[in-house]
Amino acid sequence: MVISPIHYVAIPLLVAFLIPLVAKIGKNWARILPGLTLAYLNFVSVYLMTKVQETGIISESVGGWDAPVGINLVFSPLSGLLVSLITGIGFLVWLYSYQFKNVEKNESQKYFTLLLMLITGANGVILTGDIFNMFVFMEITAISAYALTAFYRHRNGAEAAFKYLLIGSLASTFMLLAIMLLYAQVGTLNMADIASKMDQVSSGMKVTIFILFLTGFGIEAEMFPLNGWAPDAYTEAPGPIGAVFASAVVKAGVYAMARVVFTLFGYGDSPVEILIIMGVITMAIAEFSAFRQEKLKRMLAYSSIGQMGLVIAAFGLGTKAGVFAALFIMVNHALIKSLLFLSGTYMVYHSKEKLIAELNGMAKELPVTAALFAFGALAIAGFPPFSGFWSKVYFLIAAADQKMVFLIIMVLLVTTVEVLYYFKVINRMYFHKPEMELEYRRPSTNALISMFVLTAVILWISFFPDTVMGYIDAAANDLVNRAGYINLVLNR
């Protein structure tokens, strides 16, 4: 059996269906199996990433029918990069939660199934070359996300999940409407095919479709004002799931948005200034709100939204440099925000309210976790020499090339706010005296390992950015090169 992109979807599905069966054999298998799957998928990532660098885009058709008749999966440098990233983080999150869920053994089966499906859904969104298929995978992602948000009974998860579901349903409605209109115009659902027939669509219709897509994907991509679900969901979901939200769900949304803008419509054809404007507004509002947060995970959630705003704005620049910057930020954000969520979770483990104020003096009790959190904060705020800096510089350069001085200044001012609130947390951890007896929980070994792996990767990117920049560059090329994508998928 040849290793091909379909493994990203088919194998986890197989495993997901298997889990109820193996759970009957031994409860532990329900926990181990997803991990093994994710480990295998990581291997697939490595294999395919090397392959795609040599041979170019891999387009695999499903069901024996070539595009546009059948559905196809496209493993391009872009989708490959994101899929590898998501799978990698998925594995680390699995590793992290392996012990985490020990207390509730019965539920661990569901937790890991949902986690696996969340990652599979995100991977599917990114890999698929078919717009309706993308919608289906978006729904898979969304439903797993709803369920995971409401996972803990003793929290307000259900409330958060309900809001998420409310807005998520709206997202799928808009997506479907857009797909419908598009199908009625061009009679096909394959993205490459649609893209090649896009000139048949009248410009008024195009804008409507674009707006519908923008809203639909904007909800998943946490664009303001569509991101009401995000803070609640991040806060109430189990800690590591926050990491997956930040690195998988949102990334899938942003990817979909970028695909629609760049491939479906073509950059010049769509009103993308909206992206810049909305991106900056998103970033500003989110970072401002984060500044006033009292809860740690909520603050991280807003920070995540802020970063996504930056990414959206970067995509909106539309140049290769902008896309490159956006992808670089996405990669960094996925890694660093995951680290922050993973380490932050342990710091508020026993706290009921999970307030930042309860972190006072936490560094004394959890030196390693606190240090990793502080490191993550420095990195995401873009302090050199850590990796966040490189991506930020590339974003600024891309913006400067487009002569958008206002954008640069806006972004940097907002970043200052970001710096402030992260340092507020660090200050509390390190320099405040605890007001009461601290209840804390030491991270288990596997959690530590996964955090250390993340840290090592971030450090690697920090000091040897060139090693990943090649991949990102290829990905950026892939996204910008619309004709190449169309021709390759349609075998022209």
């Binding site: 009401g228 709100s289 350069i397 940097l412 001012l413 200050n427 920049m469």
Partner: protein, 613 residues
């Protein structure tokens, strides 16, 4: 291997090693601190010329080389850094988290070295930011109370750094290169609003670190609240990185000649900084705070000197920068020694330590004389050159403002010495001993250095002139070992001056000491002529409260102007705005649905505009 890289490596490896060593043994840690502190000094002064080093990372060319101007500042970094580290060993004894402290200390030293050797903007910025956060981590070292101070510091630093980053990316766009040199060359060809924007951004960025007027409010608190061992470096050297940057930008971009008004504004900002910081310095009751404000004031002189931009004023600015590094380091060390030995730095509490800590007093006195710019010590040379150059280049009102602040500086200079060392003795401080040897060595080292530079400023002026002739674009800058000459051709001979002062002083000192020496005995300062009523043991007539009340009353309008209040209002406004944005997330799912619908409806309504783009 490249000696620049080795120096950098020593600092950064020192940072990691010292952190690791702290876990094992305190002695090992101290040994590493001293070694990694002194090794760069030896290396720096033993190597005649540094070769350049170049490599590529993340698509940027990084190019390291030590320019002639940077050489001066680098000397300051290694010397003051090493002295502070030696000092720190005694000073920090018995405190917690020393590994953390030394790590950040070395990181900031290393990053300063990096800044100075960076010939390209990217590595310049990287090192700049490392410097920022490593110094931030030391500012908050003392814990809880420093929280807000640290945040103010990091806020302004981040603003400044990002302003710089904006300028850097704009330069990259404009010139396609991130080298300082390419930028200097291409600058003249840019359109004038780009020129202005880039220079403003740069000056904003450097101005923060150099504590220039509206951006200075972090400085006093940050200087005074970090551990004194670090403040010696922080205020003495780290702030000079801003000066270094300003020097590069102001001079190399020819802002002085091409944007005259602009350079005037900066010069005036510097002067106003000096004046205001001085009058605030003299009402402080904490010696650390006094010194901190004094640092801001001194930086004001330096900025003015650089911004005026004539050969002599520039020389004065750089000279003052170096000298300020030396005497302010000495003064903060004195403050640290007092803090360590007497347990307080509050001048309302401190009393008459002169007999307990004579060597510390001598250091303090020499450094204060240098600070006040009184001949024959080094500070005078800088002040003299500054005045002469300002008058000589027709900045006559500027010189008045500078003169005002430097006269007012006598007030706090006196208060510093009096508040700590003089006045009536008090039982509470009877047990106080002289500072330990490890603290005295660096302090006395600076004392000697300050005395020497007073007579032979050429030691510093030589490299400065060299830098100005080779690299800064000045032509034919002259210097002599101990003669200063102004633009009118009048000169003063420092060796003569020193001789006269010293001879006269010694003659009369001998007279006063020796005349009737046998019959004179020491009595405590409680035994004073107080209208025939001796001071009782429980009384203390020490004068410390409202020391300069008359001055405050005279200058009341100036004291009413508080920059921190303006910033306070701005930040209050911002915080309530943040609170508003936060409340957009009302927690009601339906509201969010409204948002979504509103968003899409607005876009749809404007869809026609979107087509016609």
């Amino acid at each position: 291997m490249n000696s620049l890289v080795i120096m950098l490596l020593i600092y950064f490896a020192g940072a990691i090693l010292v952190y690791a060593a702290n876990k094992f043994s305190a002695v090992l840690r101290d040994v590493i601190v001293v070694l990694a502190g002194l090794l760069p000094v030896a290396l720096f002064f033993s190597i005649p010329a540094f070769e350049a080093f170049q490599f590529r990372i993340a698509g940027f060319d990084l190019f390291w080389d030590l320019g002639s101007l940077a050489y001066i500042f680098e000397a300051l970094v290694v010397v003051v850094g090493a002295a502070s580290l030696v000092y720190a060993i005694s000073y920090m004894k018995g405190k917690k988290n020393l590994g953390y402290f030394y790590m950040n200390f070395f990181l900031s030293l290393g990053s300063m070295t990096g800044i100075l050797m960076s010939q390209d903007l990217i590595s310049f910025f990287i090192f700049w930011e490392i410097m920022t956060w490593s110094s931030y981590f030391i500012v908050v070292f003392n814990g809880y109370k420093t929280n807000k101070i640290g945040l103010t510091y990091i806020f302004f630093s981040a603003l400044g750094a990002y302003a710089m980053l904006t300028a850097i990316v704009m330069i990259n766009t404009q010139t396609g290169s991130t080298m300082w040199n390419d930028f200097f060359i291409a600058f003249a060809g840019m359109s004038s609003h780009y020129q202005l924007l880039i220079s403003i951004l740069f000056i904003f960025g450097f101005g923060v670190k150099a504590a220039m007027m509206p951006l200075h409010i972090w400085a006093a608190d940050a200087y005074s609240h970090s551990p004194m061992a670090y403040t010696a470096t922080f205020s003495g050297v780290l702030s000079k990185m801003g000066v270094y940057g300003l020097a590069l930008v102001m001079i190399k971009l020819a802002l002085v000649s091409n944007h005259f008004v602009f350079s005037q504004v900066i010069a005036w900002l510097g002067a106003v900084t000096a004046a205001l910081a001085t009058i605030y310095a003299l009402i402080q009751k904490d010696i650390r705070k006094l010194l901190a404000y004094s640092s801001v004031a001194q930086l004001g002189y330096i900025i003015t000197g650089i911004a005026v931009g004539t050969a002599m004023s520039f020389m004065a600015g750089i000279y003052l920068a170096v000298l300020h590094g030396l005497f302010k380091a000495a003064l903060f060390m004195v403050a640290g020694a007092v803090e360590k030995q007497a347990g307080t730095t509050d001048m309302h509490k401190l009393r008459a330590l002169i007999r307990k800590m004579p060597l510390t007093f001598i250091t303090a006195m020499v450094a204060i004389i240098a600070l006040a710019g009184i001949p024959p010590l080094g500070g005078f040379v800088g002040k003299w050159m500054l005045y002469e150059s300002l008058i000589g280049s027709n900045h006559y009102f500027l010189v008045i403002v500078i003169f005002f602040s430097s006269t007012a500086a006598f007030l706090y200079a006196y208060r510093f010495l009096y508040g700590i060392f003089l006045g009536q003795e008090e039982e509470e401080f009877a047990h106080v001993k002289e500072a330990p040897l490890m603290m005295l060595i660096p302090m006395l080292f600076f004392t000697v250095l300050l005395i020497v530079t007073g007579t032979f400023p050429g030691i510093i002026l030589g490299p400065v002139a060299n830098a100005m002739n080779h690299g800064m674009g000045f032509r034919g800058v002259q210097w002599e070992m101990s003669v200063l000459t102004n633009v009118y051709g009048d000169s003063i001979h420092l060796s003569v001056i020193s001789t006269i002062v010293v001879v006269v002083f010694i003659v009369f000192a001998l007279f006063l000491i020796l005349k009737g020496r046998k019959g004179t005995r020491y009595v405590t300062t409680k035994d004073i002529a107080n209208s025939g009523e001796p001071v009782r043991p429980e009384d203390n007539y020490h004068f410390a409260l409202d020391f300069y009340k008359p001055f405050e009353r005279a200058m009341a309008p100036l004291y009413r102007f508080k920059m921190s209040e303006i910033y306070g209002n701005i930040s209050d406004g911002l915080v309530s705005f943040f609170q508003f944005t936060r409340r957009l997330y009302s927690g009601n799912g339906q509201t969010y649905v409204y948002y979504v619908l509103l968003f899409i409806v607005i876009l749809l309504v404007f869809s026609n505009q979107l087509i016609n783009r």
